[in-house]
């Protein structure tokens, strides 16, 4: 086995989830909807996300009112910061790479940091293609959550990335989210 073969074997063993959606707005709007807490708390899980958009900058997402309410009703606590991580690359409005650790449940938190990449390209004037690649290698609990495995259980499990991106498309193209 050459070193090249070993490197390719390791590459092949990574667990990636890839999601792609086309949205009829310019890349700048998609970038804003992902990185600006005024926007990113309005779709999907509804938890605002705060980015320091530079390599080494911090990333955190705080619990939404809805999350707190549901958790209180069920008699469980919820951490203030539900997801944390670090910004690795920020090239507005084309590419964002970050680490991502979910703190909502002990299982997901134990999975540790994963790597998340957003890529935005303009495929026609005013039409963006957003590709989300989540490297969930060694993070089985988080992988199940972001794949939408718990959606039909209710309780805010949500439909994962496919649901988030569908909701984002709805918000940007129609001005309202799906649940509204």
């Amino acid at each position: 086995m050459s070193t090249t073969d070993t490197a390719e074997t390791q590459q092949a063993e990574r667990t990636l989830q890839v999601y792609r959606v086309y949205i009829k707005v310019a890349p700048e709007k998609v970038w804003q909807a992902i990185t600006d807490p005024e926007w990113n708390g309005r779709y999907g899980y509804g938890a605002p996300q705060f980015f320091e958009l530079r390599p080494g900058g911090s990333y955190r997402s705080t619990a939404s009112e809805e999350m707190r309410k549901v958790s209180d009703e069920m008699g469980y606590g919820i951490p203030d910061v539900v997801v944390d991580g670090e910004v690795l690359e920020a090239h507005p409005p084309r590419k964002l790479v970050q680490t991502f650790r979910m703190l909502m449940s002990p299982d997901a938190a134990a999975d540790g940091f994963t790597q998340l990449t957003y890529e935005i390209s303009e495929v026609a004037p005013g039409v963006s293609r957003l590709t989300v690649t989540h490297d969930v290698t060694g993070a089985p609990s988080l992988a199940a959550v972001v794949a939408g495995a718990y959606e039909d259980q209710g309780g805010g499990g949500g439909g994962g990335w496919a649901w988030i991106l569908s909701d984002l498309k709805s918000l940007l193209e129609t001005g309202s989210v799906l649940a509204a």
């Binding site: 090249t4 999601y19 569908s166």
Partner: protein, 105 residues
């Protein structure tokens, strides 16, 4: 990405089988997918191209290889466009009923 392409892509049993294979294990090469179906390499390539054009498969380069990933978003968009949360509950109940009846046979 328009719905027509998604419906057309899903209308073929071989293409649905390829998606099923990717659901079981994501990120496969053409060679790996080829082994799943009784078809020439060229035939599988043509089907994958239709799936890519419909957005149901997203290719990614990994070294010298091209890996194919299942993208569920187009199906999700059709689901969200056509089934609201109320009809979904009825549909889920019917699916449960069907499973229960078939399980009893």
């Amino acid at each position: 990405m328009d719905d027509d392409r998604v419906f057309k892509a899903l209308a073929d049993p071989t293409r649905r089988l390829l998606l099923d294979r990717l659901f079981v294990r994501d990120g496969q090469t053409l060679t790996e997918l080829e082994s799943a179906v009784e078809m020439t390499r060229y035939g599988v390539m043509k089907h994958l191209k239709v799936l890519e054009e419909a957005g149901l498969v997203v290719p990614r380069r990994s070294g010298r290889e091209k890996l194919h990933f299942l993208n569920p978003v187009p199906i999700r968009l059709i689901h969200d466009r056509w089934i609201d949360k109320y009809t979904e509950r009825h549909a889920a109940a019917l699916v449960d009923l069907k499973n229960e009846l078939e399980g009893q046979s």
